[in-house]
Amino acid sequence: MSAAAGGALGSARRAARPFIGLVLVLILGVISSPRGAGGSIVFLSAGNLTDILLQQGEIGIIALAMTLVVIAGGIDLSVGSVLAFSASLAGLLLVRWAPHIPAGAQIAATVAAVLALGAAIGAVNGAIITRLRLQPFVMTLAAMIGVRGLTKWMTGNTNIDFGFDAAASARFSDIFSHKPLILSAWAVLAVAAHLVLARTTYGRYLRAIGENEKAAFFTGLPIRMARTATYVACGAAAALAGLIHAARSHQGNPNDGVAYELDVIAAVVIGGTALSGGQGSILGTVTGTLVLGVLTNVLRLRMVDSNVELMAKALIIIVAVWLQRRDRNAPSA
């Protein structure tokens, strides 16, 4: 019984680890925050805290789907390029396309097309990985390069500015950069992803496949379907993030989103999801995303050089993963 209790305690501690990191960076934020008028702590102001969430929204949404990909034993490096592709495509459809339909319909069509194409890119990734047995790293690396090329070619490598007069693009920008909309989309997707992982047969299959693919095969699990679906989710999530990105920056820029995949993977990893597959949680990923966001915010409030910011991020990743390693090795050793 004591072993069982120890195991339960160990897993509780493991789940708590990203939170400890979050609490630490929050404390750091309070201590180091500049003071506003009347000695108020700028860091803790509602505006600042929701800004952190807003800034992390794009990364956060993709990281949810990336968690599923990584738990099933894969990785998706193409999300930054898919984000740029989606933002640019949205630009083309909203600014260059002039259909004789109401602006609302044009926006709906644009959103549907962008999400569908993002999912389609994910489906291609997943199909090639599971059918032709390419390593996920290699396939999505190729997709990262290829989709970036497609995006630049499609736009002639120029920004598509949304302008303020065109009805459709301006309205689109207003809607998709709306703070409550972004935050609630993130929250709803996080809850959905958590429930899928924790309560459905599909989530259970993903963990089993990531943990031991051979045994999953001998159990007759739908390995190809399950893994392909994670890439579809990841492509769609990157497309949604692309729509938000376009709206917030008021343009479709084919050169945006570079190295986003690394921030996304960092958030997932800090959240305690094992890159070797089989283990991880949505709660951890959300926390990991927030840790990165708070850290960035803290450093920016102090006007720290953005290059130092990168070094601090590097440190956080190493420390977070090292702590989890120790936890994982402790009980079995």
């Binding site: 069982a4 195991g7 259970r204 089993a208 045994a215 001998f218 007759g220």
Partner: protein, 509 residues
């Protein structure tokens, strides 16, 4: 414990002598104080059932495995080595069953790897290397260009390259672990020529094999091992195949527990002339409630039969039927839909998800039953998993702990529970008692019997003949992919099964 030294070679010290070698793996005894010696210029067979300790003995002598206790002498001088390279330097070579060669390297590079003389300089000149290995290739009977990539050669040729590699070490003692298992007939002949010439040069050869006909053709002496002990060492001319087999099997057969099904009713599995790349026309019939034991040595086609029945290998010809009609499996899930399940042999690699919980492991194969629209009913899952684990007498603290925390026997029971929860009609159990303790084995025998009583048809594989005979209604013996006979376990003897399994004639004792 009969230690014989042949009179004609008395005087010179043995090339290799072991005294009281012992080795345990966890709680399992692999070697229990073995005395054994090898004379220069002799070919000495090591025989025994799977798990008797032959390979462990060979691996210890070659420095791959360290013994718990005991002594090894080379030419009368005590030797102690901390790795296979030190043993190699002393002239002890081994050719493992799983060849330690690399397909992406050339023949010459493969031979030079791990050879201090050939690897000496950091910058290898290919011409020099080719010149150095060519004579060894000739001696091994495989005169290929040393620059050939190993991957372009056949498995038969790999075996001969492995021999050339050992020759290049100037080995005076060579262990060969099942060297002919992958060889074609003419390659076997070539190997025997090489062995004869080695013998003439005074090299001592330890020949680990299951194949009696080969052993009796080329070996001077035969040592039989059983349960980690050296049972006997005999000169070839003083013994017979029958005697060796009897000594390999040894133990008296346990009480027969399996009672035949009342009256065999429906055939739940019919296999007719089933052939794959490795199976040659296997036919048998399984009634509901029947327990069919499958006997055969490693490589006899036991696992291949499972692969064929579960759609993991291409069936070239033959037909399989289930109670409800024809069956052409394409995948494990096909088989599951027809309520045919496979409990794989290697539970850690193919069966369990070690970091997932006991409950999740138990429910995984039947998970769809506890879900509506993909939504798992957690309470029902927990309840049914608990009932099933109780039924298999699994001991576990908390169903939420990782299955890794359980003992081997309990892990095996979790694996069985996982499959029984799918309520199968036919169970294929591949070596379900491997590596578990005696108590857990008894539980598994009881479970098999109980399932059969409920009408489940059971095909099970075991490497231990006594348990197979005691707990099956019939025994099917496979040898090199072909069916050698189906015996009623009530009148089958271990000797008879062993003779069939080693390829001997099947016409009675």
């Amino acid at each position: 414990m009969i230690a014989l030294s042949s009179p004609d070679i008395l005087g010179s010290p043995p090339a290799l002598a072991c005294t009281q070698l012992a080795k345990h793996y966890g709680g399992v005894r692999a070697l229990a104080g073995v005395d054994w010696e090898l004379q220069p210029g002799e070919v000495h067979a090591l025989c025994g059932e799977n798990g008797a300790g032959k390979s462990t003995l060979a691996r210890i002598c070659a420095g791959i495995t360290r013994p718990d206790s005991g002594e090894i002498r080379v030419d009368g001088i005590p030797a102690s080595w901390s790795g296979s390279d030190e043993a190699r330097r002393q002239g002890i070579g081994i050719i493992l069953q799983e060849l330690d060669l690399f397909a992406h390297l050339t023949v010459a590079e493969n031979i030079a790897l791990g050879n201090p003389a050939l690897e000496e300089s950091r910058w290898v000149s290919f011409e020099k290397l080719a010149d150095a290995v060519a004579p060894h290739l000739r001696d091994a009977g495989i005169p290929v260009d040393p620059g050939t990539l190993l991957g372009e050669l056949s498995i038969s040729q790999w075996q001969l390259v492995a021999i050339a590699k050992v020759l290049s070490l100037d080995a005076r003692v060579i262990f060969m672990d099942e060297p002919t298992s992958a060889l074609t007939e003419d390659a076997v002949e070539r190997l025997f020529t090489v062995i004869a010439s080695l013998k003439a040069r005074g090299v001592a050869i330890a020949y680990v094999s299951h194949k009696m006909s080969e052993i009796f053709r080329i070996c001077d002496r035969i040592s039989v091992m059983r349960d980690g002990e050296m049972v006997s060492t005999m000169r070839r001319q003083d013994t017979s195949i029958a005697e060796v087999i009897q000594q390999m099997v040894g133990r008296p057969v346990g009480a027969r527990e399996a009672t035949p099904p009342e009256d065999p009713k429906i055939s739940v599995l019919g296999v007719w002339k089933l052939s794959t790349r490795k199976l040659r026309g296997v036919s048998f019939d399984l009634a509901d409630g029947e327990i069919l034991g499958v006997a055969g040595l490693v490589g006899s086609g036991r696992t291949e039969l499972a692969r064929a029945l579960f759609g993991m290998t291409r069936v070239t010809s033959g037909r399989v039927t289930l109670a409800d009609g024809d069956y052409r499996p394409r995948s494990v899930s096909d088989a599951m839909r027809r309520r045919l399940v496979l409990v794989p042999e290697d539970r850690r690699r193919d069966g369990l998800f070690m970091r997932m919980s006991v409950r999740e492991n138990t429910s995984l194969a039947a998970l769809r039953r506890y879900a509506r629209m993909g939504w798992i009913d957690g309470a029902r899952e927990a309840e049914e998993a608990r009932e099933q684990l109780d039924e298999t007498h699994t001991t576990y603290g908390d169903a939420g702990q990782p299955v890794d925390a359980l003992s081997g026997g309990n892990q095996q029971k979790v694996l069985l529970s996982k499959w029984l929860l799918t309520r199968p009609k036919v169970c294929f159990l591949d070596d379900p008692t491997r590596g578990i303790d005696v108590g857990a084995k008894e539980d598994i025998y009881r479970l098999i019997a109980a399932l059969a009583e409920e009408g489940v048809g059971i095909v099970w594989v075991s490497s231990e003949l006594p348990e197979l005979l005691a707990n099956s209604h019939r025994i099917m013996v496979l040898h090199e992919g072909a069916l050698r006979g189906i015996l009623d376990s009530a009148d089958a003897t271990q000797e008879e099964v062993m003779r069939l399994a080693t390829g001997g004639k099947g016409d009675g004792p």
